[in-house]
């Protein structure tokens, strides 16, 4: 620190023993118009700003790195089991190791999901995370419902919303069967943001899925005309 700066501090602590006897008055600051020193200082500040910006790029890049990855870089096909593991008409608990892991993940790399085999060759694979706030839903075979322990969200066996706070059905993974194995496209925590486009219908409209088909006027007309 230059002597000039040190002396600038002294008036703020006038009775400080360190400054006893030193001149209280400081030379008038340089006039406002540009001096060589002032210009050089501004130039140095500008240079510093530039270096700061260059330095900020990798720092910010490192910080937001996880946020900028594309879905295609994260998601990949993961095998859940063989066809024989999933009997037709049943909903089974399955787990897999996330395709994207870090060395310190430990058991958090294991992810659970619910696999429903609807027919011989059609499946539904539901995220275990409730579509409300992500708590783990449990399947109840007897009442054919998924129930969430947190706020009581309930879903029917096809994942559609039954009751409670969720505004949509369970999140569904894309699946495929390959060489007798069931695979899903997985890699990230299923949340509203990642799965919103994969919206499941809130209640199936087709009559074969719905045990309580609501009679429509058109139905009645059809019957009469036939």
């Amino acid at each position: 620190m230059s002597e000039h700066n040190l002396q600038n501090q002294s008036p703020s602590t006038p009775s400080d023993p360190l400054w006893e006897g030193t001149p209280k008055e400081v030379a008038e600051a340089a006039p406002a118009e540009t001096t060589r020193r002032g210009f050089l200082f501004k130039l140095a500040l500008g240079l510093n700003g530039l270096v700061g910006a260059v330095l900020a790029a990798p720092i910010v890049g490192f910080l937001v790195g996880p946020a900028t990855k594309k879905d295609e870089e994260i998601n990949s096909w993961v095998k859940l089991g063989t066809l024989a593991d999933f009997p037709v008409g049943k909903t089974r608990f399955a787990q897999y190791v996330n395709p994207v892991v870090s060395p310190s993940d430990g058991e958090t790399a294991k992810i659970a999901c619910w696999v429903r085999r609807v027919t011989e060759d059609s499946f539904q694979v539901f995220a275990v995370n409730c579509a409300h706030l992500g708590c783990p839903v449990r399947w109840f075979e007897q009442s054919r419902l998924f129930l969430c322990p947190c706020h009581g969200g309930a879903y029917y066996e096809d994942g559609s919303r039954a009751s409670g706070p969720p505004i949509r059905g369970l999140f569904e993974y894309k699946y495929r069967t390959l060489n007798g194995a069931v695979e899903i496209l997985a890699g990230q925590l299923p949340t509203f943001a990642t799965e919103a486009c994969n919206r499941t219908p809130s209640r199936p409209a087709s009559s074969e899925d719905n045990p309580l088909r609501v009679l429509q006027n058109s139905d009645v007309n059809d019957g009469r005309d036939a």
Partner: protein
């Protein structure tokens, strides 16, 4: 013979010449305080600072052993609890210290609000105080994550779900929060960095600023009804008051702070000793789904609010809540920076505090009991009381079994046992006719799922026949007023 006293004095002077700190500290301790402010009501700010110090010391000690890695964190907590001498006590001190700190910060805030201390010229002190409250809550939330157990894992999931509902930036925000695509190693280590470096650093800097302003502006005088704060003359009045009644902060006011600090630290130690550390509960294994995640005490009210919000209001509420809660706190001193300080002249202030306290208390109480959560094992763990199956026909008893097997008990209590998500069914037959029950069971509605697919006709019949017997203390069954009523057959009058 060396003169120790002189040696000490010389040393102090040596340091003072080079740092100037001792004199500043003396001036701080001596700063004049209105004698009315040397009160037991003014101990909470320093109390919060003492607790912060406790948290720093215990936190640093825990960080020496804790492993901020998702694969080892849980085991390192168990190690601290069970293998390290007094490890459990350190964890308990840190956990209880955190609860005490939030409580004291809240009490401090209420006291400052009711005493009008946020008014001119202490507006910025209040705003920094609001930031300190938010930072304290941020410490509590990140700390709950570092206790990396089942609750922490699903707690992060709840946080991620809330963030994910923000339009457009939801997805990058979730990944930024998690440090990756899933809750994993990257998540824990960044919460560790926040809890141990970023937030405490900011917190300490803000506490420094807060204190600096308290010293510069003086401790708020005891409010008097009718004494009006005006920008034009407040400082003159305060200076006069301090000159007339001023006492040095230490010892006249400080002794109460010191006594309170001791009592508080002793209370934290007592809680830590008698109640022990918080968790960890089960391992943070996402495939163990037999869990009922619960947030820590001071976040229970949010958990409860999220259960009661109508689905269509939830996302707007999540987006608006931070603004609606924080903005009024920040704007308060600018809106009400002058005028009456005394609570007896500010009925709205008292009403607001009462309303907020009752609201938060009610939601916290509900959060503790979470009646909206189904009791996931009631169907297998809670038998139907014998009294509720006595003297029933075989069909009705079969219905009781259906009632049990189909998990109805998870949401409906009988004899006081079972879930409370739906209504108790002890007297259901006094409220609904059998036809209404059939409709409700099969079609659902009013927050009940439809069981049309899960029940066959004979099960439905047995179930509703059983439900028909649940008439409380043998009350009158509900009836359709037109049922069984024979129409009166009018005959053609043959009269004239």
């Amino acid at each position: 013979m060396i003169d120790l006293k002189k040696l000490g004095k010389d040393a102090v002077e040596w340091i003072e010449l080079r740092t100037g700190l001792i004199r500043q500290a003396e001036e701080m301790a001596d700063h004049p305080t209105p004698s009315s402010s040397a009160s037991w009501w003014y101990v909470f700010g320093s109390g919060a600072m003492v607790l912060l110090t406790l948290q720093l010391v215990t936190g640093v000690l825990l960080a020496m052993v804790y492993s901020p890695s998702a694969s080892n964190a849980w085991a390192s907590l168990q190690f601290i609890n069970h293998n390290l001498p007094l490890g459990w006590f350190l964890r308990a001190l840190h956990g209880w210290g955190s609860d005490f700190m939030i409580a004291i910060v809240l009490i401090h805030m209420v006291q400052v609000f009711l005493f009008g201390a946020y008014k001119f010229p202490r507006e910025l002190t209040w705003v920094v105080g609001v930031v300190l409250l938010l930072l304290t809550l941020a410490m509590a939330f990140t700390g709950q994550v570092l206790r990396f157990d089942t609750d922490a894992y699903w707690g992060i999931g709840i946080g991620a779900s809330i963030n994910s509902s923000i339009p457009l930036i939801g997805k990058p925000l979730v990944r930024l929060m998690l440090g990756g695509p899933i809750i994993g190693g990257g998540t824990l280590s960044r919460f560790f960095a926040l809890h141990v470096f970023v937030i405490p650093g900011t917190l300490l800097a803000m506490v420094g600023l807060h204190l600096l302003m308290v010293l510069r502006l003086g401790i708020n005088e005891w409010p008097m009804p009718g004494r009006i704060v005006r920008r034009s003359n407040y400082q003159k009045d305060y200076a006069t008051l301090t000159r007339k009644t001023g006492v040095p902060f230490a010892p006249n006011a400080a002794w109460k702070d010191v006594v309170f600090a001791s009592a508080m630290i002793l209370s934290v130690m007592a809680c830590a000793f008698f109640f022990g550390p918080f968790g960890p509960s089960g391992t943070p294994d996402p495939t163990i789904i037999q869990t009922v995640p619960h947030p820590d005490f001071f976040f229970l009210w949010i958990y409860a609010v999220l259960a009661f919000l109508p689905p269509e209001l939830e996302i707007p509420a999540i987006l608006a809540a931070p603004v609606l809660i924080i903005l009024p706190l920040v704007l308060l001193p600018f809106y009400a920076g002058q005028g009456q300080k005394h609570w007896s002249k500010r009925p709205v202030a008292i009403l607001v505090v009462t309303l907020i306290a009752v609201t938060l208390g009610t939601f916290t109480h509900l959060g503790l009991h979470s009646p909206w959560s189904p009791v996931m094992d009631a169907w297998s763990a809670a038998p139907i009381p014998a009294k509720a199956v006595e003297n029933r026909t075989p069909l009705e008893r079969r219905g009781a079994m259906v009632f049990q097997e189909k998990q109805c008990r998870n949401c409906h209590a009988v004899g006081g046992i079972g879930g409370r998500r739906g209504p108790d069914l002890d007297a259901i037959a006094t409220r609904m006719t059998e036809d209404q029950m059939v409709r409700q069971v099969l079609q659902g509605g009013g927050n009940m799922p439809a069981y049309g697919k899960a029940l066959n006709p004979s099960e439905t019949l047995a179930l509703t026949r059983y439900l028909r017997t649940l008439r409380g203390n043998n009350l009158m069954p509900a009836a359709n007023p037109t049922e069984g009523v024979q129409p009166i057959n009018g005959t053609h009058s043959s009269g004239q």
